[in-house]
Amino acid sequence: MRGNDINRPSAGPTAHNIQLTDEGKLRHFLTVEGLKKATLTEILDTAENFAGVDERDLRKVPLLRGKTVANLFFENSTRTRTTFELAAKRLSADVLNINIATSATAKGESLLDTLHNLQAMHCDMFVVRHAQSGAAHFIARHVEPHVSIVNAGDGQHAHPTQAMLDMFTIRREKCNNGVGFHDLRFAIVGDLLHSRVFRSQIHALNTLGAGEVRVIGPKTLLPIDVEQLGVRVHTNLDQGLKDVDVVIMMRLQRERMQGGFLPSAGEYFTEYGLTPERLKLAHPEAIVMHPGPTNRGVEIEASVADGAQSVILQQVTYGIAVRMAVMSMALGGAGSGGAGSGGTGASA
């Protein structure tokens, strides 16, 4: 006779382990959450090597020769797609750009149908952007074992390559002379409720051991229970900026005004816009980051965005190296142990 308990099966593939091979190597890159510090550091170190490629005359390495990378963008994006495309090409992969926002799904094709059709083209990697949270996980659960998924942004859930390029930028710009993440204070400012970048940054910063992470915004744009992610919440920008080493500004979508989250862009700028005066409240050597594109005069004053403390353009440059790192690691890992986590559809 069995015991009295209902026996729950062991938790199926979780958000965390689905992205690793049996050997613990990166197979998909869906979220920063749940990855070990060593994995994040490996991404940053690998990116460091590729950053050199960028500076050479011959900007290609043959690591992914013969591999095909498909950019599946269910949501429009020029910047992110372009950096992924460049990254793949510098790794010598063949690149397919498929803009699904305007094609298949408009004809009523389901995401799974689209996926199966593309899989038939024998791609090795899908770089996926989708408007719904969890889309990259869903695709990762349903692709064949030899295909790797890189999440290029799913709904409001995650944008892990953006977060890693931010970490790369922070490490390059701030972590010198023995200074590490644990010595730094971070402030993330703006529309956090709708931001997948923010959600990925939090996990990355906490995993890398950030000294203190503050989030700053009006209550309408702060997610419920956000402090449970391991951050301090401020609603006053001046207080939140005090002595921070890194200021990360979030983009404010114009449609937030229609949604009743804010009264006007003007009042938002008055309360939360980053001006040179306000930046003085931060540490004198603080850097200013922004995932782009910036809304000058809405969340950041032009003189700050273009100022000496801004590393916004470096972020764009480093984005290529970081994406090269993730792609090469995922495709390197996929061949060895990928099959082990292939049959993961149980919880879907």
Binding site: N7, A11, L111, Q132, G134, F138, I224, Q228, L229, A348
Partner: protein, 423 residues
């Protein structure tokens, strides 16, 4: 009459409506309970069921079960779902009005009852729509719907945004003393949400439905019930604060009732982790604290009844990113063992049975949910020790969308009697 005379021999008879809990025989004739104990003079059974070591209970009455038909036959049909119900010991299912067409006129009621009749399994008790097309604008012919066979009025999960319409609907239903089953959820606060607004949804980036969506609606409904005198039943509470609001209103003497969906007593928002679409439900699964408060609410009587909130779907409907998936759990197959399982939470067996039989019968004022002589012979014989594992293959519902696959269950219906017939 072709109905058989049946004796159910030697079972433990649990009839919470009458406080009965004893080992005895039960005799059935002409579709009704004839007697308990010794057979009446001249009674000979055509069939005798050996009920040794079983529980003989009133058949379960489910206050909320989607059947798919009419309109969504890819999810299930009246035949498939009433068969699943009967197999699981559920002898009556209330079907919410959000079918296609909506249950807003007598012909739809007639269609549903005809289909149920020809399926010959569980009874279907249609819930009529409060407004035409569930659009929240014009009242339906409530009296006609009830005459055709509806047992109550409801608005399924559709909002009545104009509170004046809701007030009139409550007054009109109150005119005929018709019970109203309302799932309290403020449409504006719930807009776009697909999961409990809390730490899990924040982490997963899923649009949330705040607890306030429920409590604001409850507060408003309670005030309108006090104002109109309508027979208000709150369907599928989910939150600690919701339970507390109902508790206070009842303490003030307001005659409202409430139920909870069985899945909210076992699952929480944590189960949504990893974007598990099988745990995508509406109303959403809330926190462990809420789950415990719902159980407390059952214990102290704030919550009167438990429903399955059965909502089957085809497997494709769960194969999409979380938000885009069909909300709901196929729950009829697992209702009975999960109900019995509540004994582990300190709810006694009689109460477990009452929660899904006598209590819903009382809420609906129907002649069921009891084993008293003269009552409809709707009976379930339960093997309380039977252990079985949930799997798609074990399920009788057309929808295999269960998050319990792999769970070991204890307790199963060995026989159901519906309207005096063995199913």
């Amino acid at each position: 009459m072709t109905l058989p005379r049946i004796s159910i021999a030697g079972g433990r008879i649990l009839d919470p409506a009458n406080g009965t809990d004893e080992i005895a025989d039960l005799h059935i004739a002409d579709g009704q309970i004839l007697a308990m104990g010794d057979a009446p003079d001249g009674f000979t059974a055509d069939q005798t069921i050996d009920a040794d070591a079983t529980l003989v209970c009133p058949g379960l009455i489910d206050l909320c079960a989607r059947l798919g038909e009419p309109g969504f036959e890819q999810r299930g049909t009246i035949a498939s779902e009433t068969r699943a119900a009967a197999h699981a010991g559920v002898t009556s299912v209330c079907c919410p009005p959000d079918t296609l067409p909506v249950i807003d006129e007598p012909s739809v009621v007639e269609l549903i009852l005809n289909r149920a009749q020809s399926a010959g399994c569980a009874r279907v008790l249609p819930l009529g729509a409060l407004t035409l097309g569930l659009r929240g604008e014009h009242l339906t012919e409530a009296s006609a719907l009830m005459h055709e066979g509806c047992v109550a009025l409801s608005h399924a999960d559709a909002p009545i945004r104009d509170v004046r319409v809701l007030r009139r609907a409550m007054e009109y239903a109150g005119t005929f003393d018709i019970p109203m089953l309302i799932q309290p959820q403020d449409a504006w606060l719930a807009t776009g949400g697909c999961a409990h607004e809390g730490a899990v949804a924040t982490r997963l980036g899923l649009p949330g439905i705040p607890v306030a969506a429920e409590t604001v609606a409850i507060a408003m409904l309670i005030e309108l019930a006090a104002h109109t005198g309508a027979r208000l039943h709150l369907s599928r509470l989910t939150s600690a604060r919701g339970v507390e609001t109902v508790r206070r209103a009842r303490a003030e003497g307001l005659a409202i009732t409430a139920d909870v969906g069985i899945n909210h007593l076992y699952l929480t928002d944590i189960d949504v982790n990893g974007f598990n679409s099988l745990c995508h439900t509406l109303p959403p699964l809330r926190t462990q604290r809420d789950r415990e408060a719902l159980i407390e609410g059952i214990k102290d009587g704030t919550i009167d009844a438990i429903c399955s909130d059965h909502n089957p779907c085809e497997s494709d409907a769960k194969l999409a990113p979380f938000e885009a998936t069909h909300a709901g759990i196929s729950s009829l197959d697992t209702l009975l063992p999960l109900l019995l399982r509540l004994q582990d939470e300190g709810i006694d067996l009689n109460r477990c049975v009452e929660l899904a039989s006598a209590a819903p019968a009382r809420i609906l004022s129907i002649d069921s949910g009891t084993l008293a002589p003269g009552a409809n012979a709707d009976i379930v014989v339960i093997d309380p020790e039977k252990e079985w594992e949930v799997s798609g293959a074990s399920m009788k519902s057309a929808g295999t969308n269960t998050p319990y696959a792999g769970w070991m269950m204890r307790g199963a219906a060995s026989t159901s009697v519906i309207a005096g017939r063995l199913i």
